[in-house]
């Protein structure tokens, strides 16, 4: 799998680590606990294109938001993950 890092170009996925889905942004400090629970623990986990967070650990150290299909591993896009899910 090759990931199009906005800084480094197409790079092998073994240079990256992923922590999974970018389906939700971190709720604000005053959000109800249930919302923070959802953010930390619940996942859509769809079979299809979804947004994921990848870290170019052995590259530019950017956190990327990658649109990837979980059925085919095909990558539609990768952008800087600034601001989470927005």
């Amino acid at each position: 799998m090759r990931i199009p890092c906005p800084f480094c170009g197409l790079r092998d996925s073994s240079e990256f680590v992923t922590i999974g889905e970018a389906s939700m942004s971190r709720p604000p400090a005053d959000a109800p606990e249930a919302q923070i629970f959802d953010y930390v623990y619940l996942r859509d986990n769809p079979a299809g294109v979804n947004q994921e967070l990848w870290y170019h650990a052995q590259g530019c150290r950017s956190w990327l938001k990658v649109a990837r299909d979980t059925r085919t591993h095909e990558i539609e896009s990768a952008v800087l993950a600034r601001g989470g899910a927005q």
Binding site: M1, V17, Y41, R43, R71, H73
Partner: protein, 416 residues
């Protein structure tokens, strides 16, 4: 037909014309008391125990493909109960007990082979963590032995003791652990359930749930609507997809785990061995193939296949502890979809929808759990209360904070 050397001999004389289907390939009826979604190991075991232990036989198992096509047929066949947390030890030990009597119970030789599971350690810190785990097992009445380097060397002289980046210092051994012929588990349960009246319906994909007044009433399938009062989901890597049809979001991500088998060889590796300083575990099948695996690829996937870097990483781990395998050839690899939970431990529980039950989140430990998962899920569905060995596997434990995190990795599924 009861299987034995006598039935085999009798059929041999008849040119093997007398065998009958191992399970009935049933047409779905319009309604059942209980539906189990998923004809894998867990689903079939659940149906078997519903029939055998609870006398509930108006049951159907719905499988979207052929039975055993999921993780029960694509794993590294290891069974063990060498966990650290008491809740996990209790459950997996119950599974070990069921494995130990399984073949006589369902009259099918699944080749349960208690050849021992040895986890190697390579540092004082790992030794102490294994001691903590071994002691927890012993407190729970489970066998565990902490071996030092010389004991391991006597047992497995072919390991890399002389040239290792992380020298082997010893290992945690569970002698009762071992391997089981994976496909046969599905077939044995299918046969046992079918003989007792359960309908096993293949090529029947669930497309949606029928929910009436907050209560489940049936499913829409590729072969029509089927009514049922109680429905159990046992679909492993597809848990999130099926639960989503009922409007549920789960603390689960689906990840790919690859495993591999070598060409057949004369007996070489007697036990199950896991490497403590890299991602690698290995055993040898009765047929002679070395069966091995390592870490998750790390990304979410429903594709049942992985990529080359992890293949290389696993082989590298293998060479690090047993450089004798260098010239042996990897014959086949495969990928399973792992339902990784946020704490690495499973879920057997009711859902917020009445009559809908969930068996999920097995991470990469689902195969060894098969008998107990089936037993406990059947108990929950039949009696609406958890079987004690699985009473900690609740869906609300995440909200309560009562998580079961063996590795201490936190809410990140691909680290468990």
């Amino acid at each position: 037909m009861r299987y034995s050397i006598f039935s085999l001999a009798r059929n041999a004389l008849g040119g093997h014309k007398g065998w009958t289907p191992t399970w009935r390939d049933a047409e779905p009826k319009q309604a059942y008391d209980i539906l189990i979604i998923g004809g894998g190991g867990h689903g079939l075991a659940t149906a078997y125990y519903l029939a055998k232990e609870h006398g509930l036989t108006n049951v159907a198992v719905l499988e979207k493909s052929w039975i055993g096509s999921g993780n029960v047929g694509r794993n590294t066949t290891i069974v063990r109960s060498n966990y650290m947390l008491p809740e996990n030890i209790r459950f997996y030990e119950w599974s070990m007990k069921l494995w130990e009597g399984l073949e006589q119970d369902f009259n099918y030789n699944a080749m349960v082979s208690q050849r021992g599971v040895l986890n190697l350690y390579h540092s004082d810190g790992q030794r102490d963590a294994f001691a903590r785990r071994g002691n927890a097992m012993r407190l729970s009445g489970v066998d565990a032995e902490l071996l030092d380097r010389e004991q391991v060397r006597r047992m497995l002289p072919f390991l890399n003791f002389d040239d290792a980046r992380f020298p082997i210092q010893g290992g945690l051994l569970q002698r009762r652990g071992g391997t089981v012929r994976h496909d046969a588990v599905a077939w044995g349960y299918a046969r046992g359930a079918s003989d007792r009246g359960v309908d096993i319906v293949q090529n029947c994909e669930v497309k949606g749930f029928v929910v009436e007044n907050g209560r489940v009433a049936g499913v829409e399938t590729s072969r029509g609507k089927i009514h049922a009062k109680k429905i159990g989901i046992a679909v492993a890597g597809n848990s999130s997809r099926v639960a989503a049809m009922a409007g549920l979001r789960l603390p689960i991500e689906s990840h790919v785990l690859q495993a591999f088998v070598s060409e057949g060889l004369k007996p070489l590796i007697p036990n199950v061995i896991t490497f403590g300083a890299g991602h690698f575990y290995i055993s040898q099948s009765d047929k002679g193939g070395l069966v091995f695996g390592g870490d998750l690829d790390g990304y979410k996937s429903y594709a049942q296949r992985g990529n080359l870097p992890v293949v290389q990483d696993v082989c590298e781990g293998g060479m690090a502890i047993m450089p004798m395998i260098g010239r042996l050839r990897l014959l086949r690899g495969w990928g399973g979809i792992m339902d990784m939970t946020m704490d690495g431990s499973p879920i057997i529980d009711k859902t917020p929808i009445e009559g809908l039950y969930l068996n999920a989140g097995w991470c990469y430990g689902g195969f060894k759990a098969t008998p107990a998962a089936g037993w406990c899920f059947a108990h929950l569905i039949a009696r609406d209360e958890p079987f004690p060995a699985a009473s900690a596997f609740r869906l609300d434990r995440f909200a309560r904070g009562a998580i079961l995190d063996e590795k201490g990795q936190g809410a990140q599924p691909n680290l468990h």
